[in-house]
């Protein structure tokens, strides 16, 4: 009896597994067919290239690394290995695979499963390429322009320059920022108007008005006119549009499920459009992108329902692999290829400078305090205790500010938010209030201004010291504002 039930279960599982894998494939970009997965279990060589491509696509999307998009397959394989290693992938077998994609599909399958097990991968990928219908504004500083951990910019092989060239570049930068600010103000004014004028049009009550994307969709659903308005070679393209329209008349309407006369002009967009012209494909893309995202979302939901069977299967795959010989650990004294030493420089330097300054300050204050503390009564020790506790708590709170989870922890809003115009004074629906974000930004601004001022003060003092060492000169600082 038990055996029959087990057989029935196995039969179920046998059907459920391909479906689960198919759902997984559909939910990932460049997902290979379930057949590839099956072959990979048996380490068939023909399954390897598809898995290399998939891993490359997934990892480059995760790291938002667009630069590596157009590499040769061997270079892609190397990149994948390095990226997996950076994430902490444990198996050495991957490192030993040849990069021409001729073998190693089982190892690649294990790598994919490892990535899937660690985090909700399909959801994360979808969230990154999510179709944004609204006017988005980021509220966190995750995508800051000059993050300290950034890789060094590419150095040109130019000659030595004069310091005046640097001054000129700085001035140019200031000018560009001013332009940027002016343009941004204009854009906000226009956005405000568009939101105000389209009030009441959106089906979704919590939004209330249309965004630029949606309004653009209404203005120009076929995208045909985008050609003339947006493109540089507008006239020629429009000419070809005219020519393209005519043969299409009277033909059978392509079944795109979208009612309306978008059809004919839709095909003529296809004739003349190029993917590099985003405005051209705009309206078509929006609906199509929404639909494909919906399909992928459904695939993800199905995957989540069925994935248990996949993990049971992966256990068997892992079991089929021979265990790896453990790498002999190298003695820590060995001076390895410390390539990352460059990135440590600034942080270590700053921390050390800070430590020296603190040492000096503490020393001075301790001395002053020791001189001050004479005979203090019994209430002194109680007061001291209280002070110590208070300071301890304050410092613990300070530590939290950079600890895991970032400032404020999970509660801090992240990511781009859709701008929604509401009536002033109204309670509003769920959502972040602009006033809060403004407050947070102001405090951050004050913080940064203070940091900058301190750095400049440091430089001033150092230069003043140098000036002091050069006699016979009078240094007149510029008037403070």
């Amino acid at each position: 009896m038990g055996r029959r039930r087990r057989r029935a279960d196995l039969a179920d599982a046998a059907g459920a597994l391909p479906e689960a894998i198919a759902a997984l494939s559909r939910s990932l970009p460049a997902g290979p067919s379930p057949e590839i997965f099956r072959r990979a279990k048996f380490d068939r060589p023909e399954a390897a290239p598809a898995l290399w491509r998939l891993l490359f696509r997934v990892l480059s999307l995760l790291r938002a690394d667009r630069a590596s998009a157009s590499r040769a397959p061997e270079a892609q394989a190397r990149w994948v290995k390095a990226a997996l290693r950076a994430q902490g992938y444990p198996r050495l077998g991957l490192a030993r695979l040849p990069e021409d994609g001729s073998q190693g599909s089982r190892e690649l399958l294990l790598a994919l499963a490892w990535l899937l097990a660690r985090e909700p991968l399909p959801e994360r990928l979808l969230a990154q390429t999510r179709v944004r219908l609204g006017d988005e504004m980021p509220v966190c500083e995750c995508g800051a322009l000059a993050s300290p951990g950034q890789p060094a910019p590419r150095v040109d092989a130019a000659g030595p320059v004069d310091v005046r060239h640097l001054q000129w570049l700085m001035g140019k930068l200031r000018f560009r920022w001013r332009n940027l600010m002016a343009s941004q103000q204009e854009q906000c004014a226009l956005l405000g108007k568009i939101h105000a004028y389209t009030r009441g049009c959106h089906g979704d009550r919590s939004l209330g008005h249309l965004s630029v994307a949606e309004t653009e969709l209404l203005r120009d659903p076929e995208g045909g006119r985008q050609v003339r308005a947006g493109a540089c070679g507008g006239r020629d393209l429009f000419l070809s549009a005219k020519i393209a329209i005519l043969p299409v008349c009277g033909g059978p309407l392509p079944p795109l499920g979208h009612p309306g006369a978008g059809m004919q002009t839709r095909s003529c967009c296809l004739v003349m459009g190029t993917p590099e012209r985003p405005a051209l494909w705009f309206a078509l893309q929006l609906l199509q992108r929404l639909e494909s995202e919906n399909a992928r979302l459904e695939a993800v939901l199905e995957w989540r329902r069925r994935e248990l069977v996949f993990w049971q299967w992966m256990d068997t795959v892992l079991g089929a692999c021979p265990p790896e010989a453990s790498q002999p650990t190298f003695p820590p004294g060995l001076r390895g290829r410390g390539r990352r030493a460059g990135a440590w420089g600034p942080v270590a330097w700053e921390l050390q400078a800070l430590q020296e300054e603190l040492q000096a300050a503490v020393g001075a204050r301790r001395a002053a305090w020791a001189a001050r503390v004479g005979g203090q009564g019994p209430e002194w020790s109680a007061a001291r205790q209280a002070a110590q506790e208070a300071v301890g708590q304050e410092l613990a709170a300070l530590r939290q500010a950079w600890a895991r989870g970032g400032g404020g922890g999970r509660a801090q809003p992240h990511g781009p938010h859709r701008l929604v115009r509401t009536e002033a004074g109204g309670p509003g629906g769920p959502g972040l209030r602009a006033a809060e974000v403004i407050g947070a930004l102001r405090s951050r601004e004050a913080c940064l201004e203070e940091t900058l001022r301190q750095l400049q003060e440091q430089c001033r003092q150092q230069l003043a010291r140098l000036a002091g060492a050069l006699p016979g000169l009078i240094w007149i600082p510029p008037p403070r504002r």
Partner: protein, 425 residues
């Protein structure tokens, strides 16, 4: 002249900053173009070739007396008209209400262009208006219009470019004087924006989209995933156990993240220190607290340094092994919202244009300050050694001092003056 290495590095940094700024400007201008276009009158019948006589009146009974069309042109026009009428019939048969306005006006616009002149085939003209109005009134009969709702537009049926029906003969008089923006029937967002309605298919897709995302976030947080989660953890453990690499190491990604945190710690600690140092204690209690704070900060900095050295040692060890040397540059991680990203739509509510502008301006200012601080540190690291190391008092060295001072201390905006103190003989 600055030394070669120093020059190259500094120029590279500054150019990088300039490029990021330029990229941002480019994106902003693209959005500006789109927004400006939306706020202008929407011009469905605009033609690329400027009309020779833009008459101000939009009088449909007066076909502009341009040159008479050649018979070939007329024949072409007839063919096109027929083709279009067929298309319209087919389309009307399939869809209830369509983008007739736009598509047909686009076609008519193009046809008018190919005819170049505005002369209508007179024979066609009288028959067009009735058809035009007939077809125009049909959509008004309560069929869901994906575009314009106002029945008021139907009055413009015979005239305006908007509700124009396939009647090139009818259209031409309008095309001729169509400096379309001036036509009072042209659609502007300001006047008729509230009448817009999104197309049905789009709305369906969008609502399905948000529904699916909501489902996704609910499955994320549901507890029914226990079996799956445990099998995943088991799998990961088994992977680790059967692999050849000891598990106690931190991955490079984690190390980078921790270094980033230490960097942030450093700036916060420094700020706190400066705050404490500039504070003037009024009584002994405050003085004591200040002392304790500084000592506490010192201890924390010591711990951070220690951790940094540990991480350094760890990374050096990890470099060994069969893994490839190439390290992909750590692209700044896209904001995933931490470990628990919310997939649901996040809204940012603002109440006035002023508020929005303040918000955007502050964002830009914060980014600019970030960049400035980064550049300041880079410049300090490169230029201060140059200034301090050279001894001679020659004019070039002094000029360098002056320039460095302005760059580092005044943001390159103001300069100090150096006077030679000549003793009066």
């Amino acid at each position: 002249m600055l030394p070669l290495g120093c020059s190259r590095r500094l120029v590279a940094e500054l150019r990088d900053a300039l490029d990021t700024c330029a990229e941002r400007q480019r994106q902003l201008e693209q959005s500006l173009r789109v927004s400006r276009r939306l706020l202008r009158a929407w011009e469905p019948a605009e033609t690329p070739t400027p009309e020779p006589t833009p008459g101000p009146e939009t009088n449909e009974e007066a076909p502009s007396p341009a040159c008479t069309p050649s018979p070939q042109d007329l024949k072409e026009l007839e063919l096109l008209t027929q083709a279009l009428q067929k298309a319209v019939h087919v389309r009307k048969g399939v869809s209830k209400a369509g983008e007739r306005d736009k598509a047909s006006s686009l076609k008519s616009g193009s046809i008018a262009t190919s005819a170049t002149t505005a002369a209508a085939p007179h024979g066609a003209s009288p028959t067009k208006p009735p058809r035009g109005t007939r077809q125009a009134t049909r959509p008004a009969k309560g069929l869901p219009k994906p575009r314009l709702l106002s029945a008021g537009d139907q009055t413009c049926a015979g005239r305006g470019p908007l509700a124009a029906k396939p009647g090139p003969g009818l259209r031409d008089p309008q095309i001729a004087p169509s400096a379309a923006p001036q036509a009072p029937e042209a659609f502007t967002l300001k006047e008729k924006g509230t009448l817009l309605q999104l197309p049905v298919a789009f709305r369906k897709a969008a609502s399905q989209n948000s529904c699916l995302w909501a489902q996704l976030s609910s499955t994320q947080t549901s507890d029914s995933m226990d079996a799956t989660t445990s099998s995943k953890t088991q799998f990961l453990q088994k992977m680790q156990v059967t692999s050849g690499w000891p598990s106690s190491r931190l991955s490079a990604a984690e190390v980078e993240a921790e270094v980033g945190r230490l960097q942030k710690a450093c700036s916060l600690l420094r700020l706190r220190m400066e705050e404490e140092l500039t504070r003037d204690p009024t009584d002994w209690m405050q003085e004591y607290r200040g002392l304790l704070t500084l000592e506490g900060l010192q201890a924390i900095v010591g711990q951070c340094l220690h951790r940094l050295r540990e991480l350094q040692a760890e990374v050096v060890e990890q470099q060994l092994g069969p893994w490839p040397e190439e390290r992909p540059p750590m692209a700044s991680l896209p904001c995933g919202g931490g470990a628990d990203p919310t997939w649901s739509p996040q809204l940012l509510l603002y109440s006035s244009t002023q508020e929005l502008q303040t918000l955007a301006a502050l964002r830009l200012r914060v980014d600019m300050l970030d960049q400035q601080i980064h550049l300041e540190k880079v410049l300090m690291a490169e230029l201060l050694p140059l200034v301090s190391m050279q001894e001679p008092l020659g004019a070039p060295q002094l000029a360098l001092c002056r320039a460095v001072h302005s760059l580092l201390c005044e943001g390159g905006q103001r300069f100090l003056t150096i006077l030679r103190d000549e003793p009066a003989d």
